[in-house]
Amino acid sequence: MAHLNGSSDGNFRVIGTRPIRHDGVEKVTGQALYGADYSMPGMLYGKVLRSPHAHAKIKSIRIDKALKHPGVHAVITGADFPEVKGVMAQVGELVVNTHYLSLNVMARDKVLYDGHPVAAVAATSKHIAEEALELIEVDYELLPPVMTAEEAMKPDAPILLPELRSRFIAHRTDPGSPEGPDRPTNVAAHIQFQRGDLEAGFKSADFIVEREYRTATVHQGYIEPQNALAIYNPDGHITIYCSTQGSFNVRTLTASILGLSEGMIRVVPAEIGGGFGGKTTVYLEPLAVLLSKKSGRPVKLTMTRSEVLRATGPTSGTKIRVKLGATRQGKITAAEVWMAYEAGAFPGSPFAPGAMTTLGPYHIENLKIDSFDVVVNRPKVAAYRAPGSPASAFACETALDEVAEKCGIDPLELRLRNASHEGTPQPAGPPFKKIGYIETVEAIKNSDHYRSELIGKNRGRGVASGFWFNGGLQSSATVNVHTDGTISVVTGSVDIGGTRAAMAMIAAEVLGLNVTDVRPIVTDTDAIGHTDVTGGSRIALATGLAVYDAAHDALRQLKQRAAKLWEKQPEEVQFKNGVFTASGENAAPLTLKELASRLARTGGPVTGRATVNAGAVGAVGNAFATVCVDVEVDPETGKVQILRATIAQDAGRAIHPSYVEGQMQGGLAQGLGWALSEEYVYDERGVLRNTSLLDYRMPTCLDLPPIETIVVEVPNPSHPLGVRGVGEVSIVPPMAAVANAIYRAVGVRMRELPMSPPRLLKELMRKQGTSVEQQAAAAD
């Protein structure tokens, strides 16, 4: 690891070490319980009937035959859902419209994508439930689908949601002029950031690079499909077991969709087989609750892989235009970026964070960014690792590579000449606090990888950088001191990336314990204070802060107990290396274990508690990463092989370096899949054609080289441990790094994702002045 600006070496006893994770044995022996593992006496199995059409009116639904089918206990449709008033609600890191969320969970009068739920059944077996689905009769009136932002923004495009009006958008853009045109639109929202004098900036440039880019819809690809088991008690209390990144999110959203009080719902988060942002909302939970209420029995639903791909939220496909002006010395004088993000069937794409992060690594005085949220007949998108940023970075970081080439300077040097630092305004305006972007570029520049020579035909090396805000939000923690001197650390943060270990390490550090003396627990919504989602790279930072404070609260109480034993004042008690001491007589030093055994006689158990809103206390630190990739292109097939990949990322301070490295490698691996092979393929009717992982091609270990990591540590000055979020920014740079490497390998600039063999081969043929068909004929 590279330790910069305040090394932690020697300052910590536990933080920075690599202990074995506490939940490791349960997971490798198969004892850990995932959502689909839960079972209850008398439990029914639910299945969902989904629309086979991308866009259609529902004229009628008949469920009587399904209800009469032996073994069927309940059938629900949109008619069973209450009308939900459309309000924007802050739910964890998301802002959601509860009206549209309800329509996404179950269609009412219209289906808006292939896979949209139209009914659900609960029966005594999965097979009976599947049979019953075939007995439900739905009469559709087909409507033309609109599948891309470009099509959807045309004036004569088919309209998905009649209530979206252009007058409203115009009013947002120009609130002083409410009398705009009033016609239906698929553009749900527009945002603009502008500073400086764009015209003057471009005028002062020696040259301009202006390009257009397209990125595909891609899925998070978590290995565990969504699932939910609901138990509706006769007294109205509800328990839900499910795979989620945010149990409190599930509670809030389910209550909102079903018109219930949150206090009536208890959500128990199961172990989670990946989420990457995709499990921050609800799909099955409200259906399971309604089916359980109707049947009077527990009901479990589990999605198939096909359902996951068709009907859960992937991330947006985009269309992006970039215009950069620069001097021959490599100074960027102006930038203009236009972006359209496909939201899927309902508003709410990451168009705003995309705009707020694009070009974030650079100080550009004259800047204009426009970003649009556009509805299309695809599944409603969900968060995916640094939502919005990877697509805009692909466009801008590829255009920057062209700027470096025109200037004749090293691409990393170009980045350093324009790099953001403390005080630089972000694209949205506020200045950066202390950040480590430059350090990530220098770490790559000085890496063995970048300094090595790349030899061989059709091989090339590319670099790119990325920025992500990171989240703060709310967390709660409890530290229970047991009579043997061990402790348990209780939080509500679902453990996706090894955060149990990180929480245990923080508590052990504060209380002078071995990490094996700490048992980290993830509990349910009734057993801990409000805790927002495991998302936004916020758990080590925000829940870590709550654990840090709760451990200090326990320590404060323990000092009081030691003082009581010694008949001294608490402020006379010292604590160092796990031992309580005080000067004077009758104050023999006590270890925490010795003191813990005497808690009963000094006032009873000790429990430390803390709640935080990490944003409110300004603890959030921004994240940057820079990536270097070597590729080899097969000019016969267009296939790209990744030869070597290195990522440098600012972690602030790595609590458990192995899990930080894991996040860096995971994000980069996902980015390589996004770059080369992953995309939703729809036919002309808007039906998804690649609904299995055989056809939706994610990278496997055979596709990837070992990914080298350089953990840069520029401590976050706003956090007591210097922590920055580490979970997301690693996915931002890889696509552009690969595109830039391909250019250096074969001289072709790729501006559309994925850079799959057919697409790259086409560009290679175009460069050679031939076509694929001509080449095939020549081969014959």
């Binding site: 939900v84 008033k85 459309g86 309000v87 924007m88 802050q90 890191e93 998301l94 802002v95 959601v96 419209n97 009206h99 549209y100 949601l161 009649p162 209530e163 979206l164 009006r165 409203f168 947002r172 853009t173 120009d174 609130p175 002083g176 002029s177 749900a188 929202a189 527009h190 945002i191 603009q192 950031f193 502008q194 500073r195 508003p347 709410g348 794409s349 990451p350 168009f351 705003a352 964070p353 707020m356 949220d373 968060a383 939502p387 919005g388 949205a428 305006g429 506020p430 200045p431 950066f432 606090k433 805000f469 989240g471 703060g472 936004g536 809103n613 944003g615 409110a616 300004g618 959030v620």
Partner: protein
């Protein structure tokens, strides 16, 4: 008085000015003063008496989470931004 940086979408309200002065010890008072000077700000920024969920407030480089209760300093620099997850108001639902 605090300096408020006006987002591009709201500059029509300020006659094109990208930054204006406003007084207030917290965000509520600041928005009230903005609305007095440039009518329309409250409608754009508030919902049910608090800052709209789709809007985040940055004060002196920190993303505030206290909504209208967020303190504002005498010389603070205030930005109104989209909330992290994006989103929009729903005109019809």
């Amino acid at each position: 008085m605090a300096t408020v940086i006006i987002p591009a979408q709201l500059r029509k309200l300020t006659g094109g000015k990208d930054r204006v002065k406003a007084k207030g010890r917290n965000v509520r008072q600041l928005i009230e003063d903005l609305d007095r000077q440039f009518p329309g700000f409250s409608e754009q920024l508030l919902q049910d008496g608090d800052v709209k969920p789709s809007i985040a407030v940055s004060i002196d480089g920190e993303m505030g989470t206290g909504g209208v209760l967020e303190p504002v300093g005498e010389d603070s620099e205030v930005f109104f931004l989209p909330a992290l997850g994006g989103g929009r108001e729903n005109p019809g639902g």
